[in-house]
């Protein structure tokens, strides 16, 4: 054979490499939204030492708002 005694140009991948490959890419695009108000939520909170930094989305506030303004909106101005 013409390549006898020589290293093949492309070595076959070892088992570990194959397993890693077959496991597939872990790439995931994070585009989450609050299911209540629809605002985007990042998965990378700001790490910063200045007080008052932008807070990540707080869905507890959203639940409160929805209870106040959507669920009860018909009674809202009757009650008060």
């Amino acid at each position: 054979m013409h390549c006898e005694g020589k290293e093949p140009l492309m070595s076959p991948p070892d088992r570990a490499g194959l397993e890693e490959f077959s496991a597939g890419s872990k790439y995931d695009e994070i585009l989450q939204k609050c299911h209540l108000c629809g605002r985007m939520i990042t998965s990378h909170p700001i790490v910063h030492d200045v007080e008052g930094i932008s807070q990540d989305f707080d869905s507890s506030q959203c639940i409160e708002d929805l209870q106040r303004y959507r669920t009860r909106f018909n009674e809202l101005f009757v009650d008060e």
Partner: protein
Amino acid sequence: MTTLDPITLQVIREGLISLCRSMGHAMSRAAYSPILSEGFDFSCALFDSQAEMVAQAEFNPVHLGSMPYAVEWSIKEIGVENLEPGDVILHNDSFRGGTHLTDFTMMAPVFYDGVLVAIPAVRGHQIDIGGSAPGGFPGDATEVFQEGIRCPPIKIHRAGVEATDVWKLLLANVRLPRVVHGDFRAMFGAIKVAERRVIEYCEKYGVEVFAQAHADIKDYSERRMRAEIAKLPDGVYEAEDFLDDDGIAPGRIRIACRLIIDGDVVVTDFLGTDPQCRGPVNATFGVTASQVYTVLFQMTDPRMPSNHGAFRPIKIFAPPGTMVNANYPAAVFGGNTETSSRIMDVLHRCFAQAVPERAIGGCFGTCHNFTAGSRHPEEGDYSIIYVYHEGGWGGRVSGDGLTAEINPVGNDKNQPVEIFESHFPWLYEEYSLNEDSAGAGQTRGGLGIRQRMRLLSEEGVINLISERFELPPTGALGGTSPRPSPCGHYNDFRLKRPTDEDFVHVTEAFGTVSPSKFARKVIPKGTIVENVTIGGGGYGDPFTRDPEAVRDDVRDGYVSRQAAKELYGVVVSGSGEIDMRGTDALRRKGTSDVAAG
């Protein structure tokens, strides 16, 4: 630290707005594309170290209301801890706080003595960003991937070193790399202008005072906005409006909003809006938020400093997966220009119930985005045009609606004919006001326009995303909608190829589903395209309009004699004088075609 004294605060606050204007001036003078240099389709703002907007200049509202989401997302995704002096970040993803893909946001962290002190940002519309349609606005897109290259937040400068490989990748995917690169460099120049000014502020006042000013500016705006909202009557106000179609299938699309005013808080809830559609008119959250913020300023005090603080008392519920908050990977190109306009219409109608004295007739309701690509017959270069058209705004209590203005969602400027013809292989054959296109009222709507352009290249590819072909803008408080334009629809588009005997709609010429949305239609040399826009809705009863104002409209060619009689009950003679007896009789009779339905 305590708050700053009012004088220092005011000096810094106005200075930061001036800084943003300076960014814009640098941008317009350095840009290659007339979209930016003439049309001002860009915006400039300054963000603080918390990625919150502290100042903006008076540019494009749909940019300015959504840019805070793009900057916030970008800084979070990259991580503050990963920012270095000399970094510049680029971003255009519609689903990360963007609008449509041609709108790129460039931002840069500014450090002083190793401390992050500000983040200037500029958003500019690029003339082409790849995708299926030259110049964008593919009216037949069903996924964002067909609309151009999507760029999540990436560093295009790392610690002062340009990431040339990133540029290569980006510019290899656009049709006009030299122009686009030039416009990106103009954006970079604007960022540099801001950076210098920020450093000057830090040197003059110190970092602590500068940071405190940011906090105080936001708090001041919040107080102003809460005080303005508190003046509005508490209550629940609802309205709806419709888009003609999505470009893919016939059928109207509902945009619904419930406005709740509760003390010093405003809530806009878009529950009831239709699910996102297949075509390219889905709005992203940022687009919807922009319209909410813009209308709040219109209905309160437009002189309030617009920044993050002013947005705090405004709550937005935009259900994911709907027309006002489309989920990835929906097509969104026209959401930024068309659905945004409808969101504004719906909000105006809600506010008209709360504060009738601030009601306004609907505007022409589209940006009427026409794009085309062709090879220049003399220079041989490929060229792309993007023409967003003017139309009429609605009448309001203080006067007639504005005539031939860019849609209020954009606030851009006209690209002059002379500049346009000197750059592109198109020849204007007509650019006129669309007579009788305004809705009638005590104050009438402004007028739309008619524009005809002839293609000089051997062949061209044309695209359009427009709206309000089927449904007119509405009047306010007794004012009327405009009548359809003579060519059939309200806003309209037709063309006349050399082989056509007369102008035809694209539904006839190319068999498109929609007359207002299409992409990649090929036209030969000599084809004339006709873009027509309608006027705005009227305000108040037309029969109460001053007859002399109607006479002047007839003399100026805004209103025909026939329309003066039918819509306003004013008889104008052939010599342009008011027939008072005939007018009195008509108005006493109190009937008109409109009143008779």
